[in-house]
């Protein structure tokens, strides 16, 4: 957190309504996200109890496991969920675009990708476990399952892996999305409750943020957003209903018991379903940040790549090898750096954080020499001078390089810093001629912002040689098999099929 965010929270607490932390939306939000709210049985690692799923607010599908301890019913649930998720994934493959390649042939990339929204990070943890527990299932031999079940497992695993990449939008917890864009007047601990968080952002008529949040903490009025259910619901409603199902003597009685169970679980899920769609509305109202499209392209790239390999491939490994894990960590760190910079460039409110710490400064151009030439070398070079007045705390010094936040690729050298004014020498981003291209040099009176960090991430990743993999990244691998990249693929063993998932 920063002083700026802290101040926003304090203001929210004082005024009783949430305060913006962003002026644009920093995540992709497609036309048709798949909202998925999973519930599990308390005390079990990944025994599904129910889920509400769908791409349309008015038309949620409700999946229920009438007896979560029954293996067949659980895999029946997995098959139902697979049908929904796989057809959603397929629907994202309708259109493609051509990406140029070196050989001039070009290759195809899907113009869309799946986007799954869950209420909170716990939802992702659950999907990861569900993916782990289904992707090694076998469709033959002992305990066979439907073919869609292991496939669902592999897609869930892809979604969860991809979700760890900062800036990815294929699978996101709603609480994190909202908390990234608004500050509430409660703690991050309380923000983890979707109902309470949304209470601050969008209180019902006649209520303040804190009143709405307080109301949302009552599990009777606002059931938890899962995946764990309210213990009171478990003991008072769920337990008798499951017992009734178990006792039901015949099919008809069993159907009636299932019906009652479905109704009870629907009541637990529906409020969260509404919260999810209300949240989507709020986020949609924000204009999309400029770099979001580029990051979503990365998601589409990953989607295309995975979809190509899925028909023949083996399920993803249970654990990454040390090398794969180290590489992955480096990739994630880079993505995080990139995301941080892009968010700042896209959003003045995020940039304000960097101005506060002195990593960036903004001000007015008070003097300019747009056609100044540097004649000290063999050929004269275009090096305009700009004098910028700013009230930001300055942490740059003579000789530093800074980057123009408003013009990608424009660098400047700090020539002089003096009591609130900075003299800059522009060195790039003005075209190739000796006269600057029109509009490429800021003019007197313009508002400008310069950063100490660069916007371009063209440099190739700095990977240490494998034998020097630092211990923080798992240490050097014992035996490295070339081509052994990312997830080590291998076929499921008989033991995997025997895991009874109980």
């Amino acid at each position: 957190m920063s002083t700026l965010t802290a101040l926003a929270r304090i203001e929210a607490a004082r005024t009783g309504s949430a305060q913006p932390l962003a002026t644009v939306r920093h995540c992709h939000l497609g036309e048709q996200p798949l909202v998925l709210i999973p519930l599990k049985l308390s005390g079990e690692a990944a025994a599904p109890l129910a889920a509400m799923v769908g791409t349309a607010r008015k038309d949620p599908a409700l999946l229920v496991v009438a007896q979560p301890r029954n293996r067949d019913l659980r895999f029946g649930f997995a098959a139902e969920l697979a049908a929904l998720v796989l057809s959603y994934v397929e629907s994202r493959q309708a259109g493609t675009e051509t990406v140029p390649t070196k050989d001039g042939e070009g290759r195809q990339r899907y113009s869309d990708a799946p986007q799954v929204l869950v209420p909170n990070p716990g939802g992702i943890t659950f999907l990861r476990l569900l993916g782990r527990s289904t992707r090694f299932r076998r469709i033959d031999g002992p305990y066979p399952v439907e073919a869609s079940v292991p496939l669902l497992g592999r897609w869930l695993t892809w979604l969860c892996d991809r979700a760890e990449q900062p800036g990815s939008s294929v699978l996101m917890p709603m609480t994190s999305m909202l908390a990234g864009h608004w500050a509430t007047g409660q703690s991050t601990f309380e923000d983890a409750n979707l109902g309470a968080l949304l209470g601050w952002l969008d209180p019902p008529e006649g209520m303040t943020g804190p009143q709405a949040a307080l109301r949302a903490e009552d599990p009777l009025l606002c059931p938890p957003a899962g995946p764990t259910t309210d213990p009171g619901f478990d003991n008072e409603e769920l337990a008798p209903l499951l017992a009734a199902y178990d006792r039901a003597p015949a099919d008809q009685a069993r159907m009636a018991a299932t019906d009652r169970l479905r109704r009870a679980l629907r009541r637990q899920l529906e409020p969260t379903w509404e919260l999810m769609w209300r949240s989507i509305e709020l986020l949609r109202a924000l204009p999309e940040g400029a770099h979001v499209t580029g990051r979503w392209e990365g998601d589409r790239e990953s989607f295309t790549h995975f979809a190509e390999g899925v028909p023949e491939g083996f399920p993803q490994a249970k654990r990454d090898s040390a090398v794969a894990a180290a590489r992955r960590l480096i990739r994630l760190e880079r993505a995080q750096d990139e995301l941080d910079v892009q968010r700042a460039l896209d959003d003045p409110l995020v940039m304000a954080e960097h101005r506060l710490t002195g990593e960036a400064f903004a001000g007015i151009v008070v003097a300019a020499q747009p056609d100044r030439l540097d004649t000290t070398g063999k050929t004269p070079k275009l090096r305009p001078y700009l004098q910028v007045r700013t009230s930001d705390p300055l942490r740059v010094a003579d000789g530093d390089t800074v980057h123009n936040a408003g013009r990608k690729g424009q660098k400047a050298l700090v020539v002089d810093v003096n009591a609130g004014t900075v003299l800059l020498e522009l060195s790039s981003g003005m075209g190739r001629k000796r006269v600057a291209e029109p509009g490429s040099v800021p003019e007197v009176g313009d508002r400008v912002c310069f950063t100490t960090f660069a916007a371009d991430f063209h440099r190739s990743p700095v990977l240490p040689p494998l034998e020097q993999t630092p211990w923080t990244h798992g240490g050097p691998p014992e035996a490295y098999v070339p081509g052994d990249d990312e997830a080590v693929a291998y076929p499921p063993t008989a033991a995997d099929a025997l895991e009874v998932w109980e």
Binding site: M1, S2, T3, L4, T5, A6, L7, A8, R9, I10, E11, A13, R14, P20, T23, L41, S42, G43, E44, A45, A46, L129, R132, S133, G185, Q186, S187, T188, F189, E190, P210, E217, T229, D230, P231, G232, D234, N235, L238, A239, K318, R319, P348, L349, M351, A352, R355, L356, A362, S391, D392, P393, L498, E499, V500, W501, E502
Partner: protein, 364 residues
């Protein structure tokens, strides 16, 4: 009875003392700086009843499914004379497990009385220490004194003399999946087991044996992957041990706190309860909600006085430790003159406010 113990008794009034268990002792370490909680715990006050009486019931409930699952798994591990447990100790942990006797300390001739059961455990351990055989004790009852009040603790299993160490064994029903378990649940299990290790070490010392004979590694037994098959792992609890020891020594030094209270004060349920509680200083933090029964009461109090504690320690640090929302905002908009030690943070807050306003103006 010491003066302090008598005074604590009076604070509790007629209500029966609420005994600590490993979970509540471990919870003591999550907000060790809070005097209110320290005092109420030392006096054995039923905070849950207090919170309910005040209209702020604690949000802690346990699902019967979780409880049933836990019991079923423990039973499975212990069935057939601990067969599964032996296999684990030998094959997974590589411990030498010779002929082992199993002694159930669950009840004493049908008697469940805590002190009786504890005495029985004590005798059984003394016997084991004198001999050279190995024994697994099923549900022993240990004892730890908290500010003069005995707390009885019931580990799942104590293993005597595997190699030359004594081990606490905890059976938990959360899963270890591909070698990893939920870090929060492991941490909670480690804190709880550390309390057992401490109690066992104290008992050994009383019996004239070195405390170090009890391993600082506890053995955690959990189901593996998505099966019912148990797996076992060592968990090092040294860190948790020292935190708990420090906190326990602090609890018994609450004399000062008590001395500052009016002589006639009591925490008995009744009209004066809320004001009595308010008279003892608290240190509210948002995660009180997961560890202390009084959390909603204290949160309400923090709200009423506009404390920055409400927003969590990170926010409070970011505004230089300023205590109230009003002060932070006053310093930010310049309506409040900073004290000498606030000059720096005041300047930062003013700038932060300006920058936020500028950035938001651009959009509006």
């Amino acid at each position: 009875m010491t003066d302090l113990a008598a005074r604590l008794d009076r604070l509790r009034g007629d209500a029966p003392a609420r005994n600590h268990d490993a979970r509540t002792i471990a919870a003591l370490t999550t907000n060790p700086g809070c005097g209110r909680r320290g005092l109420m715990d030392a006096a054995g006050i039923d905070k849950d009843a207090v919170a309910r009486y005040l209209g702020f019931p604690a949000p802690f409930g346990q699902s019967q499914f979780a409880i049933a699952r836990g019991n079923a798994f423990e039973k499975q591990v212990k069935d057939d004379g601990f067969a599964e447990l032996f296999t684990l100790l030998r094959e997974r942990l590589g411990l030498p497990v010779p002929q082992v006797a199993i002694e159930s300390l669950d009840e004493v001739g049908g008697n469940h009385g805590s002190e009786l059961r504890h005495a029985q455990t004590r005798r059984a351990l003394a016997r084991a220490l004198a001999g050279d055989g190995s024994t697994l004790f099923d549900h022993p009852l240990l004892r730890l004194d908290i500010a003069g009040q005995p707390a009885y603790l019931e580990p799942d299993v104590l293993a005597f003399r595997l190699g030359d160490k004594f081990y606490v064994i905890e059976i938990k029903s959360f899963a270890i999946i591909d070698g990893q378990a939920d870090p929060e649940q492991v941490a909670a299990a480690a804190r709880q087991s550390a309390v057992y290790v401490l109690a066992l070490r104290r008992l050994l010392t009383q019996l004239g044996h070195p405390a170090t004979a009890v391993s600082h590694e506890v053995i955690l037994v959990c189901p593996e992957n998505f099966s019912n098959q148990p797996a076992a792992a060592f968990v090092d609890v040294r860190k948790q041990l020292s935190v708990i020891e420090r906190q326990l020594s602090r609890i018994s030094r609450i004399d000062d706190l008590v001395a500052a209270l009016p002589e006639e004060m009591t925490f008995e349920l009744g009209d004066g309860l809320a004001s009595a509680i308010r008279a003892v200083e608290a240190r509210y933090a948002p995660d009180c909600v997961s560890s202390c029964e009084l959390a909603f009461f204290c949160r309400d109090e923090a709200r009423a006085c506009g404390s920055t504690d409400l927003l969590g320690i990170a926010v409070r640090d970011d505004v230089g430790g300023v205590e109230t929302l009003a002060t932070a905002l006053g310093l930010a908009d310049g309506s409040l003159a900073p004290s000498p030690e606030q000059v720096e943070i005041a300047a930062k807050l003013r700038l932060a406010r300006l920058l936020r306003a500028q950035a938001l103006e651009g959009v509006a």
